[in-house]
């Protein structure tokens, strides 16, 4: 009995220690998780702060070096050689090519998604999904090589058919085509998952009312998945706006604009950031951060816009149902 008692005392102390350690570990890790979460969340704020603080420098410098902010935002000429930095036309060009590219990809994405989820069965569906995923996985620099070697030629020959001369195919149209290709997989993936998430009951209900499967797909299922499709569109647009390497290989970097003619050379925000990214000091360098800030603002406002549109769409949908 005495023996047992001793053991018991020792164990009591031991288990108390273990308990304390367990509790300590638990608290430690919970805090680590929390810190990791906060770090991840802080990064975007830090990026905004640091890039912006660098980006405002060109507008604050000494009088002779200072860039006029108003002209920077609205100007229609980008002449680094003359010290003229007007980004207005670049913003417009960026919007044109990205949105057009996105709009070109959207119907294709929706149609493909319908095929993948509702028409094709089994292996074929998997095969088509694989195509989309492969397109999504191709790095942008590879797209760039392809665009510089193939899309530009295509556009050039197309323009020649109309008797229009192009800068070797470097043009808004080439950028639009490239961006359509690059945004297509994102949009399709989202549309597919959106359509898959539509409750089966809707499908059955529509079929039971005598609609054909195709009618059901386009009249009931696709509208029901519009929220995901809109998200995919936003994400795709984000990629279009932010795409740098591939676009800069074929944009042509016009010095003035905006370029309304699709066969004309263009200049986007990202291509501006990458051309002559060579310099690493001086105003030509600093101004790139300003362009980066503008790019972020454009992306965020575009997101808000699509978001608002999505909300309105949902409201409308709600009123109908």
């Amino acid at each position: 009995m005495g023996n047992t008692n001793e053991n018991y005392m020792a164990s009591e102390a031991k288990f108390a220690k273990i308990r304390k350690r367990r509790r300590g570990t638990d608290v430690l890790f919970r805090n680590l998780f929390r810190i990791a979460g906060v770090i991840a969340a802080m990064m975007v704020i830090l990026i905004i702060i640091f890039v912006t603080s660098r980006g405002v420098r060109p507008f604050l410098g000494s009088a002779e070096e200072r860039v006029d902010l108003k002209y920077f935002l609205t100007g229609s000429r980008w002449r680094a050689d003359q010290g003229i930095y007007g980004l207005g036309f670049v913003i417009i060009n960026t919007l044109i090519v990205s949105v057009t590219g996105g709009l070109l990809a959207l119907p294709l994405a929706i149609l493909s998604a319908v095929l993948i989820t509702r028409i094709a069965k089994g292996k074929l569906s998997i095969f088509l999904t694989t195509i989309v995923e492969t397109l999504a996985a191709i790095p942008s620099v590879v797209y760039g090589v392809f665009a510089a070697g193939k899309i530009t030629i295509l556009v050039r020959d197309l323009a020649n058919l109309f008797g229009i001369s192009t800068y070797g195919g470097n043009s808004s149209l080439a950028v639009i085509l490239l961006l359509a290709i690059m945004t297509y997989p994102t949009m399709t993936t989202l549309a597919v998952s959106g359509i898959r998430a539509v409750p089966k009951e809707l499908d059955s209900a529509s079929l039971a009312l005598g609609a054909t499967p195709t009618q059901t797909s386009f009249k009931v299922i696709v509208p029901a998945a519009r929220s995901s499709i809109a998200t995919g569109f936003t994400l795709g647009l984000g990629r279009a706006f932010g795409e740098a390497t591939a676009v800069s290989m074929i944009a042509g970097n016009a010095l003035a604009g905006p370029s309304w003619n699709p066969f004309d050379i263009t200049r986007t925000l990202t291509s501006t950031m990458l051309t002559g990214l060579h310099e690493t000091s001086g105003i030509d360098y600093e101004i790139r951060f300003s362009v980066g800030v503008v790019l972020m603002i454009v992306i965020v406002s575009m997101n808000l816009l699509v978001h608002a549109a999505k909300r309105r769409l949902e409201k409308k949908g709600g009123a109908v149902s």
Binding site: Y8, F15, A16, R19, R21, R22, R23
Partner: protein, 284 residues
């Protein structure tokens, strides 16, 4: 080390400081333990603005099987989860009132919930073995407690599986993936897993609702055997099951405890008309 010694240690180890202090009056502790597992006083529970339990007050007897019955959404499962504070996991859940276990309010902040749960085991509606081996499933709780000795673990696993009436079926392939077992075996494994920690109380949340009649019968047998050693609280939708295995029955409706008493009384002689309506199948 024998299993009983282990139990003693685990019991002691499990107690919080307060509990240890409360247990200084040795005799009263024992007597209380013999009679009452949980004493509930004015328990109110809210999910956000929604009140799920209203002024629940009763004493839950020890070493008996208590069945909670009532229609879906009556709060019986919610109350069950109060006993091992699983409701903590729900973000906007708030509990008022006190639940005393060994004279300590388990809702107070000073109670270590991890500890509480080693004393109050739980078995869920769906058998939920971890995707690990049978052995690892049973040993899991002890390993978490810091038990490393292979010998102790082996013994605990064997004795728990025996108690859960699963030993004969699995003793030759303890390393097999637990998810390969049949539903009934899985549920018994989950019971064994809970028993391994030597708890005082085992909470069972509709433990047989996902099982076929044969597996259900085996679990019911098991429950009857286990009540010798443990306090068992079972939530069930099956009136006949409650009648078969429980000693006491509590009937809940819309968050209120309508009636609580010996099972025979409740089923044969309900005091409240609502209880009678439910038992005779007029609603539910």
């Amino acid at each position: 080390m024998s299993a009983s010694k282990l139990k003693k240690i685990m019991n002691r180890a499990g107690g919080t400081k307060k509990e240890t202090m409360a247990s200084t009056s040795h005799s009263s502790e024992i007597s209380q333990r013999d009679h009452i597992a949980f004493a509930l006083e004015d328990v109110n529970l809210f999910y956000g603005d929604f009140q799920a339990l209203r002024d629940i007050t009763f004493d839950l007897p020890a070493h008996q099987v208590t069945a909670f019955i009532g229609p879906s959404g009556c709060g019986k499962s919610t109350l069950l989860r109060c006993f091992n504070r699983m409701n903590d996991l729900i973000d906007n859940c708030r509990i008022e009132g006190a639940i005393y276990r060994n004279g300590v309010n388990i809702n107070s902040d000073s109670v270590d919930v991890v500890d509480l749960r080693t004393h109050v085991g739980m078995v869920f509606q769906q058998p939920n073995p971890f995707p690990k081996s049978i052995y690892d499933n049973v040993a899991y709780g002890l390993v978490c407690q810091g038990v490393r000795s292979k010998k102790v673990l082996d013994e605990a696993v064997a004795s728990s599986l025996k108690k859960a009436a699963l030993w004969d079926e699995v003793k030759d392939h303890l390393r097999r993936d637990a998810t390969q077992l049949s539903g009934g075996q899985q549920q018994r494994l989950c019971i064994a897993r809970a028993i391994a920690l030597q708890p005082d109380v085992i909470l069972m949340d509709e433990p047989t609702s996902a099982l076929d009649p044969i597996a259900t019968a085996r679990i019911e047998d098991l429950i009857t055997q286990l009540k010798e050693e443990y306090t068992i609280v079972i939530v069930t939708h099956s009136m006949s099951q409650a009648a078969r295995i429980s000693d006491k029955t509590a009937f809940f409706l819309l968050g209120d405890l309508i009636e609580f008493g010996p099972t025979d009384d409740i089923f044969q002689n309900p005091r409240d008309t609502r209880t009678e309506d439910y038992i005779t199948g007029k609603f539910g």
